[in-house]
Structure formats: C-alpha cells, structure tokens
Amino acid sequence: MEEVIANKSIKVNEEGYLTDFAQWDKSIGLEIATKKGIEMTDRHWEVVDYLQDKHKKEEALSIRGIKKSGIFNVKEFYGLFPGGPLKVSTMIAGIPKPKSCI
C-alpha cells in the first residue's frame, strides 16, 4: 500500500506502519504524530532515536530493555505516548510494530 505522508508517497501496511524504513524522515514522523494527536518534543524524539537504534541493530524491543536503557522509564513512556506507547511510537519512528505490544 502507498500513502501520501508529508507530501511523499510512502509504503505502509494496512495498519499504517512503514514497510520500508529507508523512506523515513523526520517530517514523516511528525505528520504521523500529529495524526495521532501527539505534539513531539525533544523527549519524544529521544525515544524515537532509541527505537530506531534498536531497529538498526536488529534488537527486539522489550520492557526490560527500556528499563535497562536508562534513557526513559516505562511510566514516562506511557506519558509521552498515551494509549499504546510502543504501538504509537514505533509507527512514528517508521519501524515495524513490535511483538510485545505496549
């Protein structure tokens, strides 16, 4: 599926997750966030950086990983991306929805 995000034609799956991370840039993340009603701050982008870094290293995302990261804690994560933090933040970060779906 193709969808126009930030004036670019982007490949996504039925749920709206990017299927080609190479197509991601900040403007795309920003537009997805806006649609989800999230106003991105530096803190939000730090989380996005962390997630993308894990993705590039092919490391699975987990609660334990977040706890160990020292970057942010799970409570704060819920505050930044209310509802399903990992589901929403991975969509903004342009990476696949993880198995453990917070």
Binding site: S62, R64, G65, Y78, K99, I102
Partner: protein, 416 residues
Amino acid sequence: MKNLVILGAGTGGTMMANHMIKRLPKKDWKITIVDQYKTHYYQPGFLFLPFDMYKSKDVKKKGGKFIPKGVNYILQKIDKIVPEKNEVILENETLNYDILIIATGTKIAPEETEGMLGDEWHKSIFDFYTYEGSKALRNKLREWEGGKLVVHITEMPIKCPVAPLEFAFLADSFFKHKEMRDKVDITYVTPLDGAFTKPKATETLHYLLEEKQIKEVTNFNIEKVDSENGKIIDYAGVEVEYDLLVTTPTNLGDEMIERSGLGDDMNFVPTNKGSLQSKQHENIFVIGDASNIPASKAGSVAHFEGEILEDNIMRFIEGKPLKEEFDGHSNCFIETGNGKALLIDFNYTQEPVTGQFPFPGVGPLSLLKETRMNHMGKLAFRWIYWNMLLKGTAIPFVSNAMSKKGKNIENVENKD
C-alpha cells in the same frame, strides 16, 4: 584432540550430543556436555501436572540416561564463557573448546515484576513454568474452593507461547469435572492484542474463549502485583482482581549469558536465524530457547533446528559455507480441554492455517481444528520426546523444513 563443548543438557543440548557423537570421529574429537541439574524435566508436562493429569514421575527422569556413551557429562554450574580465549569457566574447572554449542534455554524471572516474588509466591501467586511452581499449583488446585482465577502473561517472548492459554482451557475443563465451574471466574490477561496472536488463528479460534466463558483482557502491560489486595495493575492504571493468580513471569536467558557479555536485553544470544551461528563469534552456535531468533521457543523448534545445526557444524569444520536453511518451523499441539486439542504448524513467514497433517487430505491430525486425535497426538508427544526427540531421531513424515502440502493457504502471510 579437538573439543566440542555443549552448554545445557535440556532438550536442545541432549539432542545435539546424540547428533554429534554419530558425526565426529572419536579419535579427533572429544564431546563434553554440562548441566547444573541431574534431573531432565519434560517441561511440556508442567501444563498437565497442576490438573493431576500427569504425575511427577511423568515429567522427570535422570538426565544421564539420555546422554550417549562416549560423551563426557559434567554436572556443574556454568559460571561464564570467555569467547576471546575459547574457554568456559565452570564452578570447579575450566574447559577449552574449538566449537561451542549454547543450549542453556530460558527461565522465568518473577523478580523482574514488582510484588510478584513476595510472601504470596506459591501461595496465591503461581507459575507453572517450573517443576516447583507446577507442583505447588497442583496442591493448591486440589483444595481451592473457587473465586477469581486470573491466567496471565507478563511479557513476550515466552517459551511455548500458547501454554498459558492452554492452561485456561484445561482449567475450565478441570472445574467442570469437579462440578464447581460456577464458582470459578476465569480471566485471561495478555500484553498482546488478543489471545491468539496470528490473524487466521484468531478468526478460527475465538469461539473457544466464548464457549468456555473465559474473559479476555488484552494489551495489559503489568507494572506490579498488589498481593495484599489481590490485584495486578498495568502501566496505564488498569486493574484486574484475582484470588488465584497463575502468571507466566518474564522469560530470560540464563545470567551466565549476561556475565559472558553474549546476550541482548533479555539475555538471549544474537544468532543468525538461518544458520544458527552466533552473530558475534563464528565458532559459537546456539540451539533452542537460548537464541534470539524470531521463532517460537519450543521443543519442536529445537528438534527442527537440530538437523540443520548438525550439518552446519560439519560444514564449519570442513571450512565450507554454512547453510542458511532454518525456516522457523514450529509445530505445536494446543490443548483445548475435554480431551481435545488443536494442532498448528507454521514458520517465519507462514502463519497457522487449517488443513490436514502430515498427509494432505488424510491427516490423521487436523490443523487449527479441535479434535480428539490431536489430543492423542499431544499425549503421544511425551513418548516421542523421551524416545525420539532427545535421541535426535527424525520424526517420520515430518521434515525440518515446513511443508505447505495439505494446508489451506490463501495468501495468509505471517506478519511478525
């Protein structure tokens, strides 16, 4: 003399000892296997023990019985691996290796969740992923008079991911037989989107939960257990009350992996998912639950990996390129209670679908459908486990690569 060292004498390690003794010439290779316990547990039986369907003796045997002659069997705790020196440090000695196979599996870590491992552990909060937990739960269920039973998964990945759901199904059946189902309220709590994580399975199987009146709470990410007030609380503030909590705590690789600097966040070893070679060190291979490959953590998976790993170790020794052939094949019976079970067969890219197994159009086992025959299959698995799987014998008609024959495939791809 060269050394092959296998760490862990569970399902994968024992199987590899049996595979490799047949392949490596005795005059050139010494094979050593290490485990901390003398008992080998049949973990799939931990699902049946709480309901008095199996006895203790069905699920434990002396590990040494399954280690082939000619293999050096050491019972000691492994302290750590030093890959730079090709060394493994045990409690009382140090081993050198030319090739290392890691098969140390995964185990529960209730200490990861606040409030789980307190005074109520094995009193009103139980696991059934250990022999101790499963047996304690059996004793509890024998006398429990009913109330709110919560069956819960802490976080993924866990080994045998369907076991908690099977537990809920068997519990329904168990209380019906005891004529006290009306006194028990069963709720299934999962961090995932649904009880069945794959779309086709959800479509076909959701009726089971309704039929058995099992309530479902999804997307629940536990923050803590409040054992004083009998409730579990998630990060979004949702609370679920229980009288009896049967939880599957976080599953982690052994701390030994962490101490050796070889693991990811969950102490699983980063591994090439096709060849089973570790990503960091070319002479280290990983089988079973200890790896981070995106396949199910199950004995059947270790079995399908076994033959490929055997070939790849031989190729490695001969200096040939490794085969990247493991397809994530998993085959798993799901107990649904009342003497029936389902069977699912899938891999990295193909999600479970309906059909017949292993013979197209014949079966005798039915995929994704409740039958008595599948239940017989699940019970037969125990015999197969002790008599074929551990010995590295190929299971007739079931190949390590998943077959699409007999499956009703309508372009359902596995999205994970």
